[in-house]
């Protein structure tokens, strides 16, 4: 008899016990977790609402595609939904916890092979359990001259982040842009190779991503239409030189002019990487805690913020970028960049030697050259027992937009009693505006206010024409609801795809707001 505190929806304890037994026969009993202590690793420890809403009934960790197919057969037969994770450690978006309580987590961590590193054509082929640390260490070990691009948490999964359309900080920072070739297992167990991989013996499966005909890879990202079990990812050849830099700006509204300066530099590739414009509070949180400066409630007073700015020798906004290439190229590019940003009164310029030993510059310099680390998590110490959730609207690289998004997010944050702590990650024509809302894990009042703040921001953003690119489990439905042009035509096509590819509705119900037919129409907690 199992002791799992939560059961899958509409499944009895006896049926569940039988399913657990069957899963154990497939993957081995050691890789099926249903006792409460083992399930703690699959919970959302930053939960804003009740943790029980996202509690799994069990977790199962297959070793290969064949085991996945057999797990899927059990799930189909018993109508037990699976929630798929690669490493499941994105703590700001729900970690490994399922959207719907009672799902069995399909944990792909054991599938952690680096199948190929192609030095000549600069790509790797990886399984879902490969972390940034794993891939980086492997490249170091074999003496590769290829760089990875990693998200800020080095323990994150290369595939998981890419499949959730995450970003990094090198010139390859837009992760999905560099995906090439994907293997997917559908809910009925069919294995599909996408792109050129659809041709047996293809020699370009990881060089040309589109093959011929409809290109379906994107359909499987942020979705629940299949399980990605392998993919190719392009890697950046090591440049002859690398020079990270920081430019600080003293006023809150400088983000307008700074962004206007960034746009042509990005489009002209003088700033080649996914650079970041970081606001003061977030910048400071890596190095100090809020309590070191202010013991009151509510947002930090301006006088305190100015003290922090002076103490840490940073700006109200802090732009981290990097130069790549031969020294002469970097020298020339720097002249243009320096002259451009110098138009902002009070702009100051720093290189590594100026910021030696400072954790913020240190970890950003690592990220912009693809060295995975975990330093950014120091931001959690901003609040006691700190946790965070991301509110992440997209913005064009446009000064007016950047300033407006900052103002509305800041003002709403203040209204609900929180600091604004955010950054703009600059892509080619877009900016991921990530407002990292900090709260205390053990403070029920703060969590209630965070929830209210998230709802207000999602709705306010949509009314202004801004949509989020990614979100926590709790807000997937609401954000999906804002993509409602033509009476929700986009969701309706997603639902038709869902019904066609997963008629039993066993794969990740509720992911990105896409529910199987049987669960539609009833609000899901």
């Amino acid at each position: 008899m199992t002791t799992a505190p939560v059961l899958p929806p509409d499944v009895s304890r006896a049926e569940f016990d039988q399913a657990i037994g069957e899963l154990g026969e497939v993957v081995g009993p050691a890789w099926v977790f249903h006792e409460e202590p083992r399930l703690l690793g699959y919970q959302d420890h930053f939960a804003i609402r009740e943790q029980s809403l996202r509690a799994p009934s069990a977790a199962v960790a297959p070793a290969d595609v064949e085991e996945i197919q057999r797990v899927l057969a059990i799930a189909r037969n018993r109508r037990i939904p699976l929630w798929v994770v690669s490493t499941g450690r994105n703590l700001a978006y729900g970690a490994a916890a399922p959207r719907k309580a009672g799902c069995i987590v399909l944990d792909l961590k054991r599938m952690n092979r680096i199948l190929e590193v192609n030095e000549k054509h600069a790509y790797a082929v990886v399984e879902p359990g490969v972390s940034y640390f794993d891939l980086y260490n492997h490249l170091q070990k074999i003496g590769s001259k290829l760089w990875i691009d990693c998200a800020a948490p080095g323990w994150g999964g290369v595939m998981g982040n890419l499949m959730d359309r995450g970003v990094g900080y090198t010139p390859y920072g837009e992760h999905f842009m560099w995906q090439c070739g994907m293997q997917v297992v559908l809910a009925d167990g069919t294995v599909v190779e996408t792109g050129m991989g659809g041709q047996p013996g293809s020699t370009a499966a990881h060089s040309w991503r589109y093959g011929r005909g409809p290109w379906v890879d994107g359909m499987f990202t942020q979705a629940n239409f299949g399980i990605a079990t392998r993919l190719g990812i392009h890697l950046m050849p090591e440049p002859p030189g690398y020079r990270p830099y920081l430019v600080t700006f003293p006023r809150e509204d400088d983000v307008h002019q700074v962004t206007e300066i960034i746009r042509p530099l990005k489009l002209g590739m003088l700033i080649p990487n996914a650079a970041v414009t970081v606001e003061l509070n977030l910048e400071a949180s890596v190095a100090v805690s809020r309590a070191q400066y202010f013991s009151g409630e509510g947002p930090l007073p301006d006088s305190v913020r100015r003290k922090i700015m002076a103490d840490l020798n940073v700006g109200m906004w802090n732009f981290y970028g990097a130069l790549y290439g031969p020294e002469k190229i970097m020298d020339n590019n720097w002249k243009v960049i320096e002259e451009s940003f110098a138009q902002v009164p009070g702009a100051r310029f720093f290189f590594g030697k100026d910021r030696a030993g400072e954790p913020a510059f240190g970890y950003r310099a690592k990220l912009m050259r693809g060295i995975p680390n975990m330093t950014e998590f120091g931001i959690l110490n901003w609040m006691p027992n700190g946790a965070h959730v991301g509110f992440s609207p997209m913005a064009a690289v446009d000064g007016k937009t950047a300033l407006e998004q900052y103002h509305f997010a800041r003002d709403l944050a203040h209204k609900y009693g929180f600091d604004y702590t955010g950054e703009y990650i600059v892509g080619w024509r877009d900016m991921h505006h990530v407002f990292v809302i900090f709260y205390s894990r053990d403070n029920a009042d703060q969590k209630k206010r965070v929830h209210e703040l998230m709802i207000a921001m999602i709705d306010d953003a949509a009314a202004r024409g801004y949509g989020e690119y990614r979100t926590h489990l709790d807000y997937m439905d609401r954000i999906a609801g804002t993509y409602n042009w033509n009476n929700g035509a986009l969701m309706r096509v997603n639902q038709r795809i869902k019904d066609a590819l997963d008629p039993s509705g066993i794969l990740a119900p509720g992911k990105s707001g896409i529910w199987p037919a049987a669960m539609r129409g009833t609000p899901q907690p």
């Binding site: 977790f33 202590p37 083992r38 703690l40 690793g41 420890h45 450690r89 703590l91 970690a95 961590k109 972390s131 640390f133 260490n137 080095g154 323990w155 890596v286 190095a287 100090v288 805690s289 309590a291 070191q292 013991s295 030993g357 954790p359 240190g362 970890y363 995975p372 680390n373 975990m374 330093t375 998590f377 120091g378 931001i379 959690l380 110490n381 006691p384 027992n385 700190g386």
Partner: protein, 187 residues
């Protein structure tokens, strides 16, 4: 700061019984502990003093110790993970250890304010009783007292009891962390 070489030195130690805890039952044969402490911090230094010299110190990047734990190559005979870290490091280490099926046996939440320290401790009642004397001193030695109790943590049951206590503040660098977590996990 620590050199990579220093960092990667194994931190597995025999679960020695410190003199201050001589009344503790002997550790099970072969049981070893992995000890982790915040670097560049008075309390981290005190934690290490109880178990010199084999404690892994962590700086701003907890990534290397996480990789060690995630790989698990040298962890088979580790019977206890015990540490004193920033809260953010604790959160990450806890995630990895829970994934590996370990359970938490002890948690101390230590918050420094201008007027003093507040310590909130959770463990089983017997373990809690053993650890309380560590907080009698009004200096950073409390952290050493926590480390000296690691033999008890290795045998602790469920965290069913809680105790909150306070002691006076003492001189610390202005930039020192204002919240620390002491913790222990066991199979």
């Amino acid at each position: 700061m620590f050199t990579r070489r220093e960092f990667l030195q194994t931190t597995l130690i025999a679960l020695a019984m410190p003199a201050a805890a001589a009344a503790m039952p002997p550790a099970a044969p072969g049981t070893r502990a992995r000890l982790i402490a915040i670097g560049g911090c008075l309390e981290g230094d005190a934690f290490c003093a109880a178990n010199l010299p084999d404690v892994t110190r962590v700086g701003p990047d907890v990534g290397e110790i996480l990789q060690l734990l995630l790989r698990g190559e040298h962890e088979a005979d580790v019977g206890l993970y015990c540490g004193l870290t920033r809260d953010s490091d604790f959160v990450l280490i806890r995630q990895v250890l829970l994934e590996r099926g370990l359970r938490q046996a002890y948690l101390g939440d230590h918050v420094a304010t201008p007027t003093g320290w507040r310590h909130e401790l959770r463990a089983d009642a017997q373990t809690l009783e053993r650890i309380l004397p560590a907080f009698a001193s009004d200096d950073a030695a409390w952290a050493g007292g926590v480390a000296a109790c690691c033999g008890w943590f290795a045998r602790a049951g469920r965290m069913s009891a809680q105790h909150v206590l306070a002691n006076a503040s003492y001189a610390r660098p202005a930039a020192a962390a204002t919240q620390l977590k002491s913790w222990a996990f066991r199979p």
